[in-house]
Symmetry: C2
Subunit: 409 residues, 2 copies
Amino acid sequence: MPTRKLIVQKYGGSSVADTGKIKKVASRIAKQKKRGYDVVVVVSALGGTTDNLIALAHKITDLPSEREMDMLMSTGEQISIALLAMALHNLGLEAISFTGAQVGIITDASYTKAKILDINSKRIESELKKGKIVIVAGFQGATISDDITTLGRGGSNLTAVALAKALKASICEMCTDVEGVYTADPRIVSKARKLSHISYEEMLELASAGVQVLQPRSIEVAKKFNVPIHIRSSFSEREGTIISKEVKAMEDIVVSGVAINRDEAKITICDVPDKPGIAARIFKKIAEANINIDMIIQNVSRTSYTDLSFTVMKRDLKKALKITAQVAKSVGAGNVECNDNIAKLSVVGIGMRSHSGIASRMFAALARNKINIEMISTSEIKISCVISKKSATKAVRAVHKEFKLSKAS
Amino acid sequence: MPTRKLIVQKYGGSSVADTGKIKKVASRIAKQKKRGYDVVVVVSALGGTTDNLIALAHKITDLPSEREMDMLMSTGEQISIALLAMALHNLGLEAISFTGAQVGIITDASYTKAKILDINSKRIESELKKGKIVIVAGFQGATISDDITTLGRGGSNLTAVALAKALKASICEMCTDVEGVYTADPRIVSKARKLSHISYEEMLELASAGVQVLQPRSIEVAKKFNVPIHIRSSFSEREGTIISKEVKAMEDIVVSGVAINRDEAKITICDVPDKPGIAARIFKKIAEANINIDMIIQNVSRTSYTDLSFTVMKRDLKKALKITAQVAKSVGAGNVECNDNIAKLSVVGIGMRSHSGIASRMFAALARNKINIEMISTSEIKISCVISKKSATKAVRAVHKEFKLSKAS
């Protein structure tokens, strides 16, 4: 993608939580502008606004129409963009704000979780030509018939990536409340190191392993269109972590990071008849209830019965258990058991593709620390183990040390 | 204007002050719909929202850009329309909400006080055809380049009248916190009577005389396009007051109402040289400061000097005094005096055109009550007197009684 001297910056709700923070963000934008860059800024709603709006709707009805929810929710970002434009004017800069609809972010009509179909960037380009900083409401767009839509969770990041692509920006900066992506959670591993670079693939695996810096959806779009992302702090000038296509040097790094996810629970169906189609029946019902399943393990069957385990998000556990119990009964399986005292430990790294023995080093490190592994699942660049929750901290530290992640390689 | 079985209803901020009131308003709309009418509803921002948004902006800057203020302020009505649509859905009715921009309310680019240029009602018509109740954000529109604008004070009423005209509605209902237009303020005159009909001209005079039911701007537009307006309570089914073109029967009513306005102050410039062009110089300066002048009295001059008095809104008094003092000095006039302990008493009635002696009856009633008249100003259908503020209540009662306004004529 040919790029130009243009930066897309995105600020999340915590970065614009109040008018004081909005002023700080404005100063930060001013600096980029003074460095000679064209700047397009994507902003989320002021922290807390979204929750207040949801509460208002629920005072009216338990089941608000999704179209009207989007009409309501989209006001949150509209407030932020106007205030941020004012703050920039106050610094003597020319700035102009736009809603998603005004700026030609065309989506499908899946209200509350719309997909961006196209961006007509004519208006932005014309304002940039006048030397203005363009501020765009994140998280929202409009259908071709001009009905307001929102993009769902992580929508503002998606807006930023899509704009960066449409405008051929040199980079998409995600300004947030962390300094970048670390080899492990610094609150757990004091020696955790901030990564200067990471590949889209690794970031995707880390996101699904529980690192909540960026939603998989935005990373996928960035990967598809090769938009480099810079994850950095909203309130410091320090370099953060660049997410981009893998380069040769990255491949030498065997493991990039360790992630821990305590938000899942394990469900086990005992004595499942070992016949074709049974697993499909079970997981179809769960998918129909909009419950995402992460890991699935089926024990090797020596009899005609087998045990089937899988993990779901804890918030879905109750619903998932109910459905699982019904299905288990209908297929003639045994008891359904569950355990929400688990943690999922993952190591991620592009280097795994070409280096063997990573899994055994991980398992050995856990064994030395007497940590039992309940489930294992692997992908090309990730190994995940389910362990007991109480061992989580110890496990992260052990694995981080094993792969010497505190030292830049 | 040919009309159809369609009603435009407008609800102000106090009628949708909270979610409880929004639900009540929804029930009221439902009733009209069930009577077989197509209904288009115009809503203001939830009471208080506008003030909160202004406060937010002023935390950022003392002088917010007007374009960005409109971006910010327009979110207020957007919240109301979404919530009202949800409340109607909750009653099992089909309803759909639209911002001013979505519904084709095209304005000029005078941000914060835009004028409606055109309404493209295609989208509304198509939703009405589907049997839906259409809810439109009041107070706002968009320029031809899709920049969001607001219409200024009383803007939601203007939206309602303009939509009623564009859609050829049979009536434009202004649902508010009063029951209609009264012969005098019922808090002052207990026998004040609700008028069933009043003409646009009388309503215009009453509005400028201090009756704050409807802004002159909306009445003027309604008059221009002959849109009948029904002023009525948001929370009762009682008939209110219809404002329409004067009809023969109305002309028999000599006086329709008495109004009192305590919001003005009087400024007097003493010893103004009695030369052509002096008054023009004075009032040009005041107009340039965006201060509205109501009454102007110049005493007949027997010398080459004269006294010049005029009234302004109290909130403008300080600014007006400063300007007046400067101008007075520059034209060689004497002292500038002011009095904010005044009240303006007005009687309004189309019948005055054909009935003489109204002024003398009014003055006599005041004289009998020992109320001194400081200034007098008349129009074709109105007589206003400035009196001392402490006599205001007594004066209203005396004049109301003199013209027997508690009895329907």
